[in-house]
Every structure is written in structure tokens, then in C-alpha cells.
């Protein structure tokens, strides 16, 4: 069987006819089974546009979604939250893959929501009302567990914050099977 390959995958390999399949059965590591020919022409045009370069991400893009943090970042690089914001957005650009999302505004939304989720959690750690990170006595009355209950069920991970829930609702199809570890 012959076919015209597409622009996005202009290669022809063997293994389509009955005879070729027979050869494959006899010698799966044979020369013809590992041969691919790149077709220059004719090619069926690709319907998808080529992906552009990852867009730039600025503080102004973050403040569209992270308005509550605006006053803590309005001193630019001198703001006390700026190093954390910068680190989180750099990580977000790696974890929210441009190649998967492909749309600039959606990608910027996801990067912002990811950073907002962790900024919210870090603010809770900084406040440390219970003195967990202090040599002062522990104040059990002020040990507010940062939880979110929905329908009586305590939510964890990204669902702990409003920003995290917004982020995960959009990014879950891409991220739920990923290993959120060192390399990702």
C-alpha cells in the first residue's frame, strides 16, 4: 500500500504490505525494517501552524491574575516578594510546557496561576502565627491549618488554594500523569 506522507511527518517506512509483514516476521531487526525514507515531494500540507517561540513573561502579565500580590511587588526588584515571585515564574515556565499549551494567553494564565498558588502558601508560612518556625512557644490557638473544604472533603495539593484550583482545572489534562519531580 502506498500513501503520500504529510509535511509534519514526511517519512515512509516499511511494513505495510503482506509481503513486508512476512519479512518482518522472519527478521524483525533486518535492514528494511529499520529503514525510513524521507519524502521531499509530494507532501500533504500540514493543517497546524508551526509553534512559535515561547513568549516573554513580564511582571505585568503576572499582575493580571495575581492582583492581591500587587502591593508586595510594586517596588520592582526591591520588593521583598520579588525573588520568590521570580523563582516561581521561572519554575512555572518549565513546568507549564509551552509545547503542550501552544497558546500565548492561556500559557500566561497558567504560569501566573501556578506562581500565585505558591505565593499564597508562602505568605502563610511567612506569617507563622502559631510560631512553628520560631523559638517562641507554640500557639495552638493560632495554628490555622491551611485547608480548603469542599463538600466536607479536605482538598490537597493544588486544590488547597483558589489559584491552585483554577490552575489545575485547566492544566490537569496535561499534568496529571506527569512526575512532578526533579526533572519536571
Amino acid at each position: 500500500m502506498s500513501f503520500i506522507p504529510m509535511e509534519s511527518n514526511p517519512y515512509v517506512t516499511w511494513g505495510n504490505s503482506m509481503n513486508e509483514m512476512f519479512l518482518d516476521l522472519l527478521n524483525p531487526f533486518g535492514y528494511f525494517q529499520n529503514l525510513a525514507v524521507q519524502v521531499v515531494s509530494p507532501l500533504i500540507p500540514s493543517y497546524s501552524e508551526p509553534l512559535s517561540d515561547q513568549p516573554d513573561y513580564e511582571l505585568s502579565d503576572f499582575l493580571v491574575w495575581g492582583k492581591p500580590f500587587e502591593e508586595y511587588l510594586n517596588d520592582g526588584e526591591d520588593s521583598f516578594l520579588y525573588p520568590l515571585y521570580y523563582a516561581l515564574t521561572e519554575l512555572a515556565k518549565i513546568r507549564v510546557r509551552w509545547e503542550l499549551v501552544g497558546h500565548e494567553r492561556i500559557w500566561k494564565q497558567l504560569v501566573s496561576l501556578y506562581a500565585c498558588h505558591y505565593l499564597e502558601l508562602h505568605l502563610q508560612i511567612l506569617k507563622d502565627e502559631a510560631n512553628r518556625l520560631s523559638l517562641n512557644p507554640y500557639e495552638k490557638d493560632k495554628d490555622y491549618k491551611y485547608v480548603m473544604e469542599v463538600g466536607g472533603e479536605v482538598q490537597d495539593d493544588f486544590k488547597m488554594t483558589h489559584f491552585g484550583r483554577m490552575f489545575w482545572f485547566i492544566y490537569k489534562p496535561y499534568g496529571q500523569f506527569s512526575h512532578w519531580g526533579i526533572n519536571y
Partner: protein, 167 residues
């Protein structure tokens, strides 16, 4: 990193309203400023200038203790540095001292902080909440001026020597 240039005071200074003590690192209001801002003659109330000045120092001590209460003990020195070197904090302290003089004069003032709340005659005790050490207005002033935060809104380090001038 340092306090923002627009807010930074190279050195705490004395004027007709506040005087600074470099041993305690606190501001204290002058008698004349207290009278001009509150209309309350403390000299007459406390029967002497020395007593009145001592009373104003006591108010400052209580206010600083209340402000320091919001921050963890590891930030104590940093908080005192900020209160000494911030223009905004200086203005807030003036408002707070004026308000506390009014609060004390109106009854139920900060002396409440020194009440045990224990009534042995009736065998019961009344809990005095830290929020009652100053007036509700003073609590709002502290909140609006960023003095009630658990952490600082600016990143800075304590400089014991600013341009050759010791703190």
C-alpha cells in the same frame, strides 16, 4: 537591601514633637507636643513636669511593646530599626501616642494592661485581652500603617552604622 530611599531616615532625629533615646531605641513625645495635639494638660494631671514626662515614656514603652508583639522575637531588632529609620513609622507613632493619651484620659486606658483582672472578693477573674492595651482606633492605625504585619513589607538589613553615624 535597605529601607526604600523615599521612606528612609539616615538617623532618628529629635524635633518639637518626638525625642529619640539611643539607649532604648524608642521615640518619646514631648510635653508641649502632647498638649498641642491632645489639649490635655498632663502637667496638671500628673502634678509635675517630671511625672508627666515619665507618663509619656510609659506610653511609648507600652506602644512599642504592643507593636513588637505582632512580630516574632527574631525580628525584634529589625522592628526597632524600622521604627527608628522610617518616616512613615515616625508619623504613625505620633498618631498612636496622641491616641493613647486620649484613650487613657477617657477611662479604661492602657493601665488595663497592668490590671490582673482577679477579684478575690468575688473569686473570679476577668481576662484582659492584648487588643485592649491600646484603643480600637490605635489598633486600626497600626493596621493601616503596616505595623501589625507578621513580616516586613520591605527587605532590609539592620545597619548599626549609617554613613558614619551610629544607630
Amino acid at each position: 537591601m535597605a529601607i526604600l530611599a523615599s521612606d528612609f531616615l539616615t538617623r532618628p532625629y529629635n524635633d518639637e514633637t518626638l525625642e529619640y533615646d539611643y539607649d532604648t531605641h524608642q521615640y518619646y513625645m514631648t510635653l508641649d507636643a502632647s498638649f498641642n495635639n491632645t489639649g490635655i494638660d498632663l502637667v496638671e494631671l500628673w502634678q509635675g513636669e517630671e511625672n508627666a514626662q515619665f507618663y509619656l515614656k510609659l506610653i511609648s514603652n507600652v506602644l512599642y511593646t504592643v507593636i513588637l508583639r505582632f512580630k516574632d522575637e527574631k525580628y525584634r531588632e529589625k522592628t526597632l530599626y524600622y521604627l527608628s529609620h522610617s518616616k512613615k513609622a515616625r508619623k504613625a507613632l505620633i498618631k498612636l501616642i496622641v491616641d493613647t493619651v486620649h484613650y487613657n484620659h477617657s477611662g479604661g486606658g492602657f493601665m488595663t494592661a497592668y490590671q490582673t483582672g482577679i477579684n478575690l472578693h468575688e473569686m473570679k477573674s476577668l481576662r484582659i485581652e492584648p487588643e485592649q492595651f491600646v484603643s480600637p482606633i490605635a489598633n486600626e492605625i497600626m493596621k493601616n500603617n503596616g505595623l501589625e504585619t507578621r513580616y516586613f513589607r520591605q527587605d532590609f538589613i539592620v545597619e548599626y552604622d549609617t554613613m558614619g553615624v551610629e544607630w
